[in-house]
């Protein structure tokens, strides 16, 4: 496919673009489309765009008004998080660092390493919560209503993914269980959550959960949304993990049982590590879906990246900059999701290779 030498150009074209008359037509249409769309896009994005300015009236060109995005960049990233408290964000990477070190320390001892990693993964959102929310360890309290932008998007989706994994494993095991009641409950739970739209779940969690709680119990609105998202994601995760569990050969169970391992240890030491490894691509895909879906929290009045951009575009100084905002949001989401999906593809390929090698 690559064009090695110029003298191969004609046969290359003939083979790849112009094989049949139909191909001639299709190629012409696509080239025409590109010639029609791309210059306009380029002009709007770059050529006619304004890059420096203080407000809307500085954007005189026909193209995009980028100063809008620059001037609100801080808010797009962290919302209304107080400026003098933003240094706390730098503390967040400490947690994974700490636990990667821990995992390295316990090299060779799988159960302990597993324990450390689990603790690290589950604890990360908690750590983030404490650091960002403050109110202890000498940190000033920052109300969750002030969180926003990409920070909020990441917080909700990370909480969702990290906590839905253990829940999903439990549900998947429950669905495979031979105990009839455990099995039915798991199936019902999974299908129930997978059957309703996230919007209704978010509305339910944000507005109606307090109705089902005793009166003076005040659960933070963000926390309620996170719980809703987590339960929603756990149903999807359960199906991903179940597929992984189905992929573990029966001989593995039999070997583990014959070694005298009980159910718990068979699962923890033999089956789950293999099943989870196989589920990694599915887990990443679920995460991508979740990451995109967090944009729905704007429906319940939270200002995530999308919500923040929408709110900013109604600022009277920047009227009519909606498309610039949406374009920026699209690029950010795309970069995150695309890099994750590429990672997942690479992992999948590696797993397949390993699998093939071990056979």
């Amino acid at each position: 496919m690559t064009l090695a030498k110029s003298e191969n150009l004609v046969p290359w074209l003939r083979k790849n673009l112009l094989k049949t008359p139909l191909d001639w037509i299709i190629t012409a249409i696509i080239v025409g489309l590109c010639l029609w769309i791309l210059p306009g896009l380029w002009n709007w994005l770059v050529w006619d765009a304004t890059f420096v300015g203080m407000n809307r009236s500085d954007c005189t060109g026909e193209g995009a008004c980028w100063p809008f995005v620059w001037s609100r960049m801080g808010q797009f990233m962290v919302g209304f998080y107080p400026e003098h408290e933003r240094w706390r964000l730098a503390l967040l990477p400490l947690w994974p660092l700490f636990f990667v070190l821990g995992a390295l320390l316990f090299r060779g001892s799988w159960p302990r390493r597993f324990g450390v990693l689990t603790g690290g993964v589950l604890g990360f959102p908690l750590f983030g919560w404490v650091i960002l929310k403050g109110g202890r360890w000498g940190l000033a309290a920052v109300d969750t209503a002030e969180w926003g932008g990409l920070l909020l998007t990441l917080f909700i989706s990370l909480c969702g993914i990290f906590w839905s994994l253990p829940l999903g494993i439990i549900l998947a095991l429950g669905r495979r269980s031979k105990k009839p009641f455990v099995n039915k409950v798991s199936v019902a739970f999974i299908e129930l959550w997978r059957g309703v739209p996230l919007v209704t779940i978010l509305f339910f969690s944000s507005v109606m959960i307090p109705l089902f709680l005793p009166k003076e119990m005040d659960v933070d609105k963000l926390l309620r949304a996170v719980i809703g998202v987590t339960l929603f994601a756990s149903a999807y995760m359960a199906e991903v993990v179940r597929a992984g569990l189905n992929g573990v050969a029966r001989g593995q169970y039999e070997a583990a049982y014959s070694l005298g391992l009980g159910w718990v240890r068979t699962m923890m030491l033999v089956v789950l590590p293999q099943a989870l490894k196989m589920s990694i691509p599915g887990i990443v895909n679920t995460f991508i879906g979740l990451f995109k879906d967090t944009s729905l929290v704007l429906v319940i009045g939270m200002f995530d990246l999308m919500g923040m951009i929408q709110a900013a575009s109604t600022d009277s100084q920047w009227l009519g900059c909606t498309y610039e905002g949406y374009f920026f949001a699209g690029v950010v989401y795309w970069v995150f999701c695309f890099s994750m999906s590429q990672t997942s593809l690479r992992l999948e390929a590696r797993l397949q290779r390993n699998h093939a090698a071990s056979m």
Binding site: P214, M217, D218, K221, G301, T314, L319
Partner: protein, 340 residues
């Protein structure tokens, strides 16, 4: 494994259930918390809107501040919860907010069946229409066949249906969840007419690219008494909100402002003023508040006149005249009950 999880779940649920049965009153809750949770709009200039630093202003916001002053003595101790029209009543019912101050119309159904109480009216309004000047429409009756954009979850939808049905005119309604989306759709030309409370129309007009090209028709098709709402059944809290609002009005009637109030407190011989400011009698105590509650309200928030001019008046982009919202003795409808 699953069992221990479920076990944890049930124990925590039982714990929650046994935890609180008695319904404490809102005043105690707010005092204990030290912060007033106030439900406001998601952004309606003049009523409640955040600036780019997320600090809120508007007439609804000033009422929140006044209640916080009355109860906690500090107008900054308010946490604003921006709510969509759809969320607002549920948020109040579930206790997520203590006070709903979100340009909400007082109607019979809301008062009687939604578990709400409306202590008083903050702003007398009516539903109106905004059209492009190019359309050449002068009166509401010329709107037959028009496409109308409005926000869902409001009385607006019902009023339009009633009005057009009574006049036997056809119309098409396009409803959005957020006011910003309504304005965007109107601006894009999706509808001929934007309908909302008149005050809201003036506010929305400032968000258009060419405000001068659009006009708000003078006629209104409904009565919209906008005011705060509280949970039904907590009379003490309703009283506090009602009299906080009356205090703003009473201050204007007595000629008190945030500027002159310290002087008046020292010099005034008027028993009405002295009672109002807590120098005589114990009206504050009867409400469960401090004796200087009204004094602090006027000091920190101002009188109704000041609040109106600051947020809606001629000096603001909205440029709304007092009209119905003048005091009763100046030809308006605001009539604070006697403070005694």
């Amino acid at each position: 494994m699953p069992h221990s999880f479920f076990c944890f779940l049930v124990i925590s649920l039982i714990f929650l259930a046994t935890h609180g049965i008695a319904a404490p009153n809102t005043l105690e809750v707010v005092k204990k918390r030290g912060v007033l949770h106030c439900g406001v709009s998601q952004g309606l200039a003049g009523f409640s809107a955040p600036d780019s630093k997320n600090s809120w202003s508007g007439i609804d916001v000033d009422l929140c501040r006044a209640v916080a002053v009355a109860v906690l003595g500090d107008g900054t101790k308010v946490k604003y919860r921006p709510l969509s029209a759809k969320e607002r009543f549920t948020a109040l019912q579930t206790g997520e907010i203590d006070l709903l101050s979100r340009n909400t119309s007082w109607t019979l159904v809301r008062d009687a069946s939604l578990g709400l109480d409306f202590p008083a009216v903050l702003y007398y309004d009516g539903q109106g229409f905004m059209v492009s000047k190019k359309a050449g429409v002068k009166a509401v009756t010329e709107l037959a066949g028009a496409t109308i954009c409005t926000q869902t979850g409001t009385t607006t939808e019902l009023n339009i249906a009633d009005f057009f049905r009574a006049k036997n005119m056809k119309y098409k309604l396009v409803v959005f969840e957020k006011n910003d989306e309504v304005v965007a759709a109107y601006e894009a030309g999706r509808c001929d007419v934007l309908s909302a409370d008149q005050s809201g129309l003036y506010a929305s007009r400032t968000k258009l690219k060419q405000p001068a090209d659009h006009m708000v028709l003078s006629e209104v098709i409904s009565k919209e008494p906008l005011g705060p709402a509280v949970r039904h059944g907590d009379n003490q809290w309703a009283d506090i909100v009602r009299w906080t609002l009356f205090a703003l009005l009473e201050a204007e009637e007595l000629g008190l402002t945030s500027q002159n109030i310290d002087g008046e407190l020292k010099t005034s011989k008027n028993p009405g003023v002295r009672r109002f400011l807590g120098a005589e009698g114990e009206v504050g105590k009867d409400l469960g508040l401090r004796p200087d509650w009204a004094l602090s309200i006027v000091k920190q928030v101002g009188s109704y006149g000041e609040v109106f001019e600051r947020n809606l008046g001629e000096a603001t982009p909205l440029k709304i005249a007092r009209g119905m919202n003048a005091l009763w003795n100046k030809g308006g409808l605001h009539y604070p009950m006697p403070v005694r």
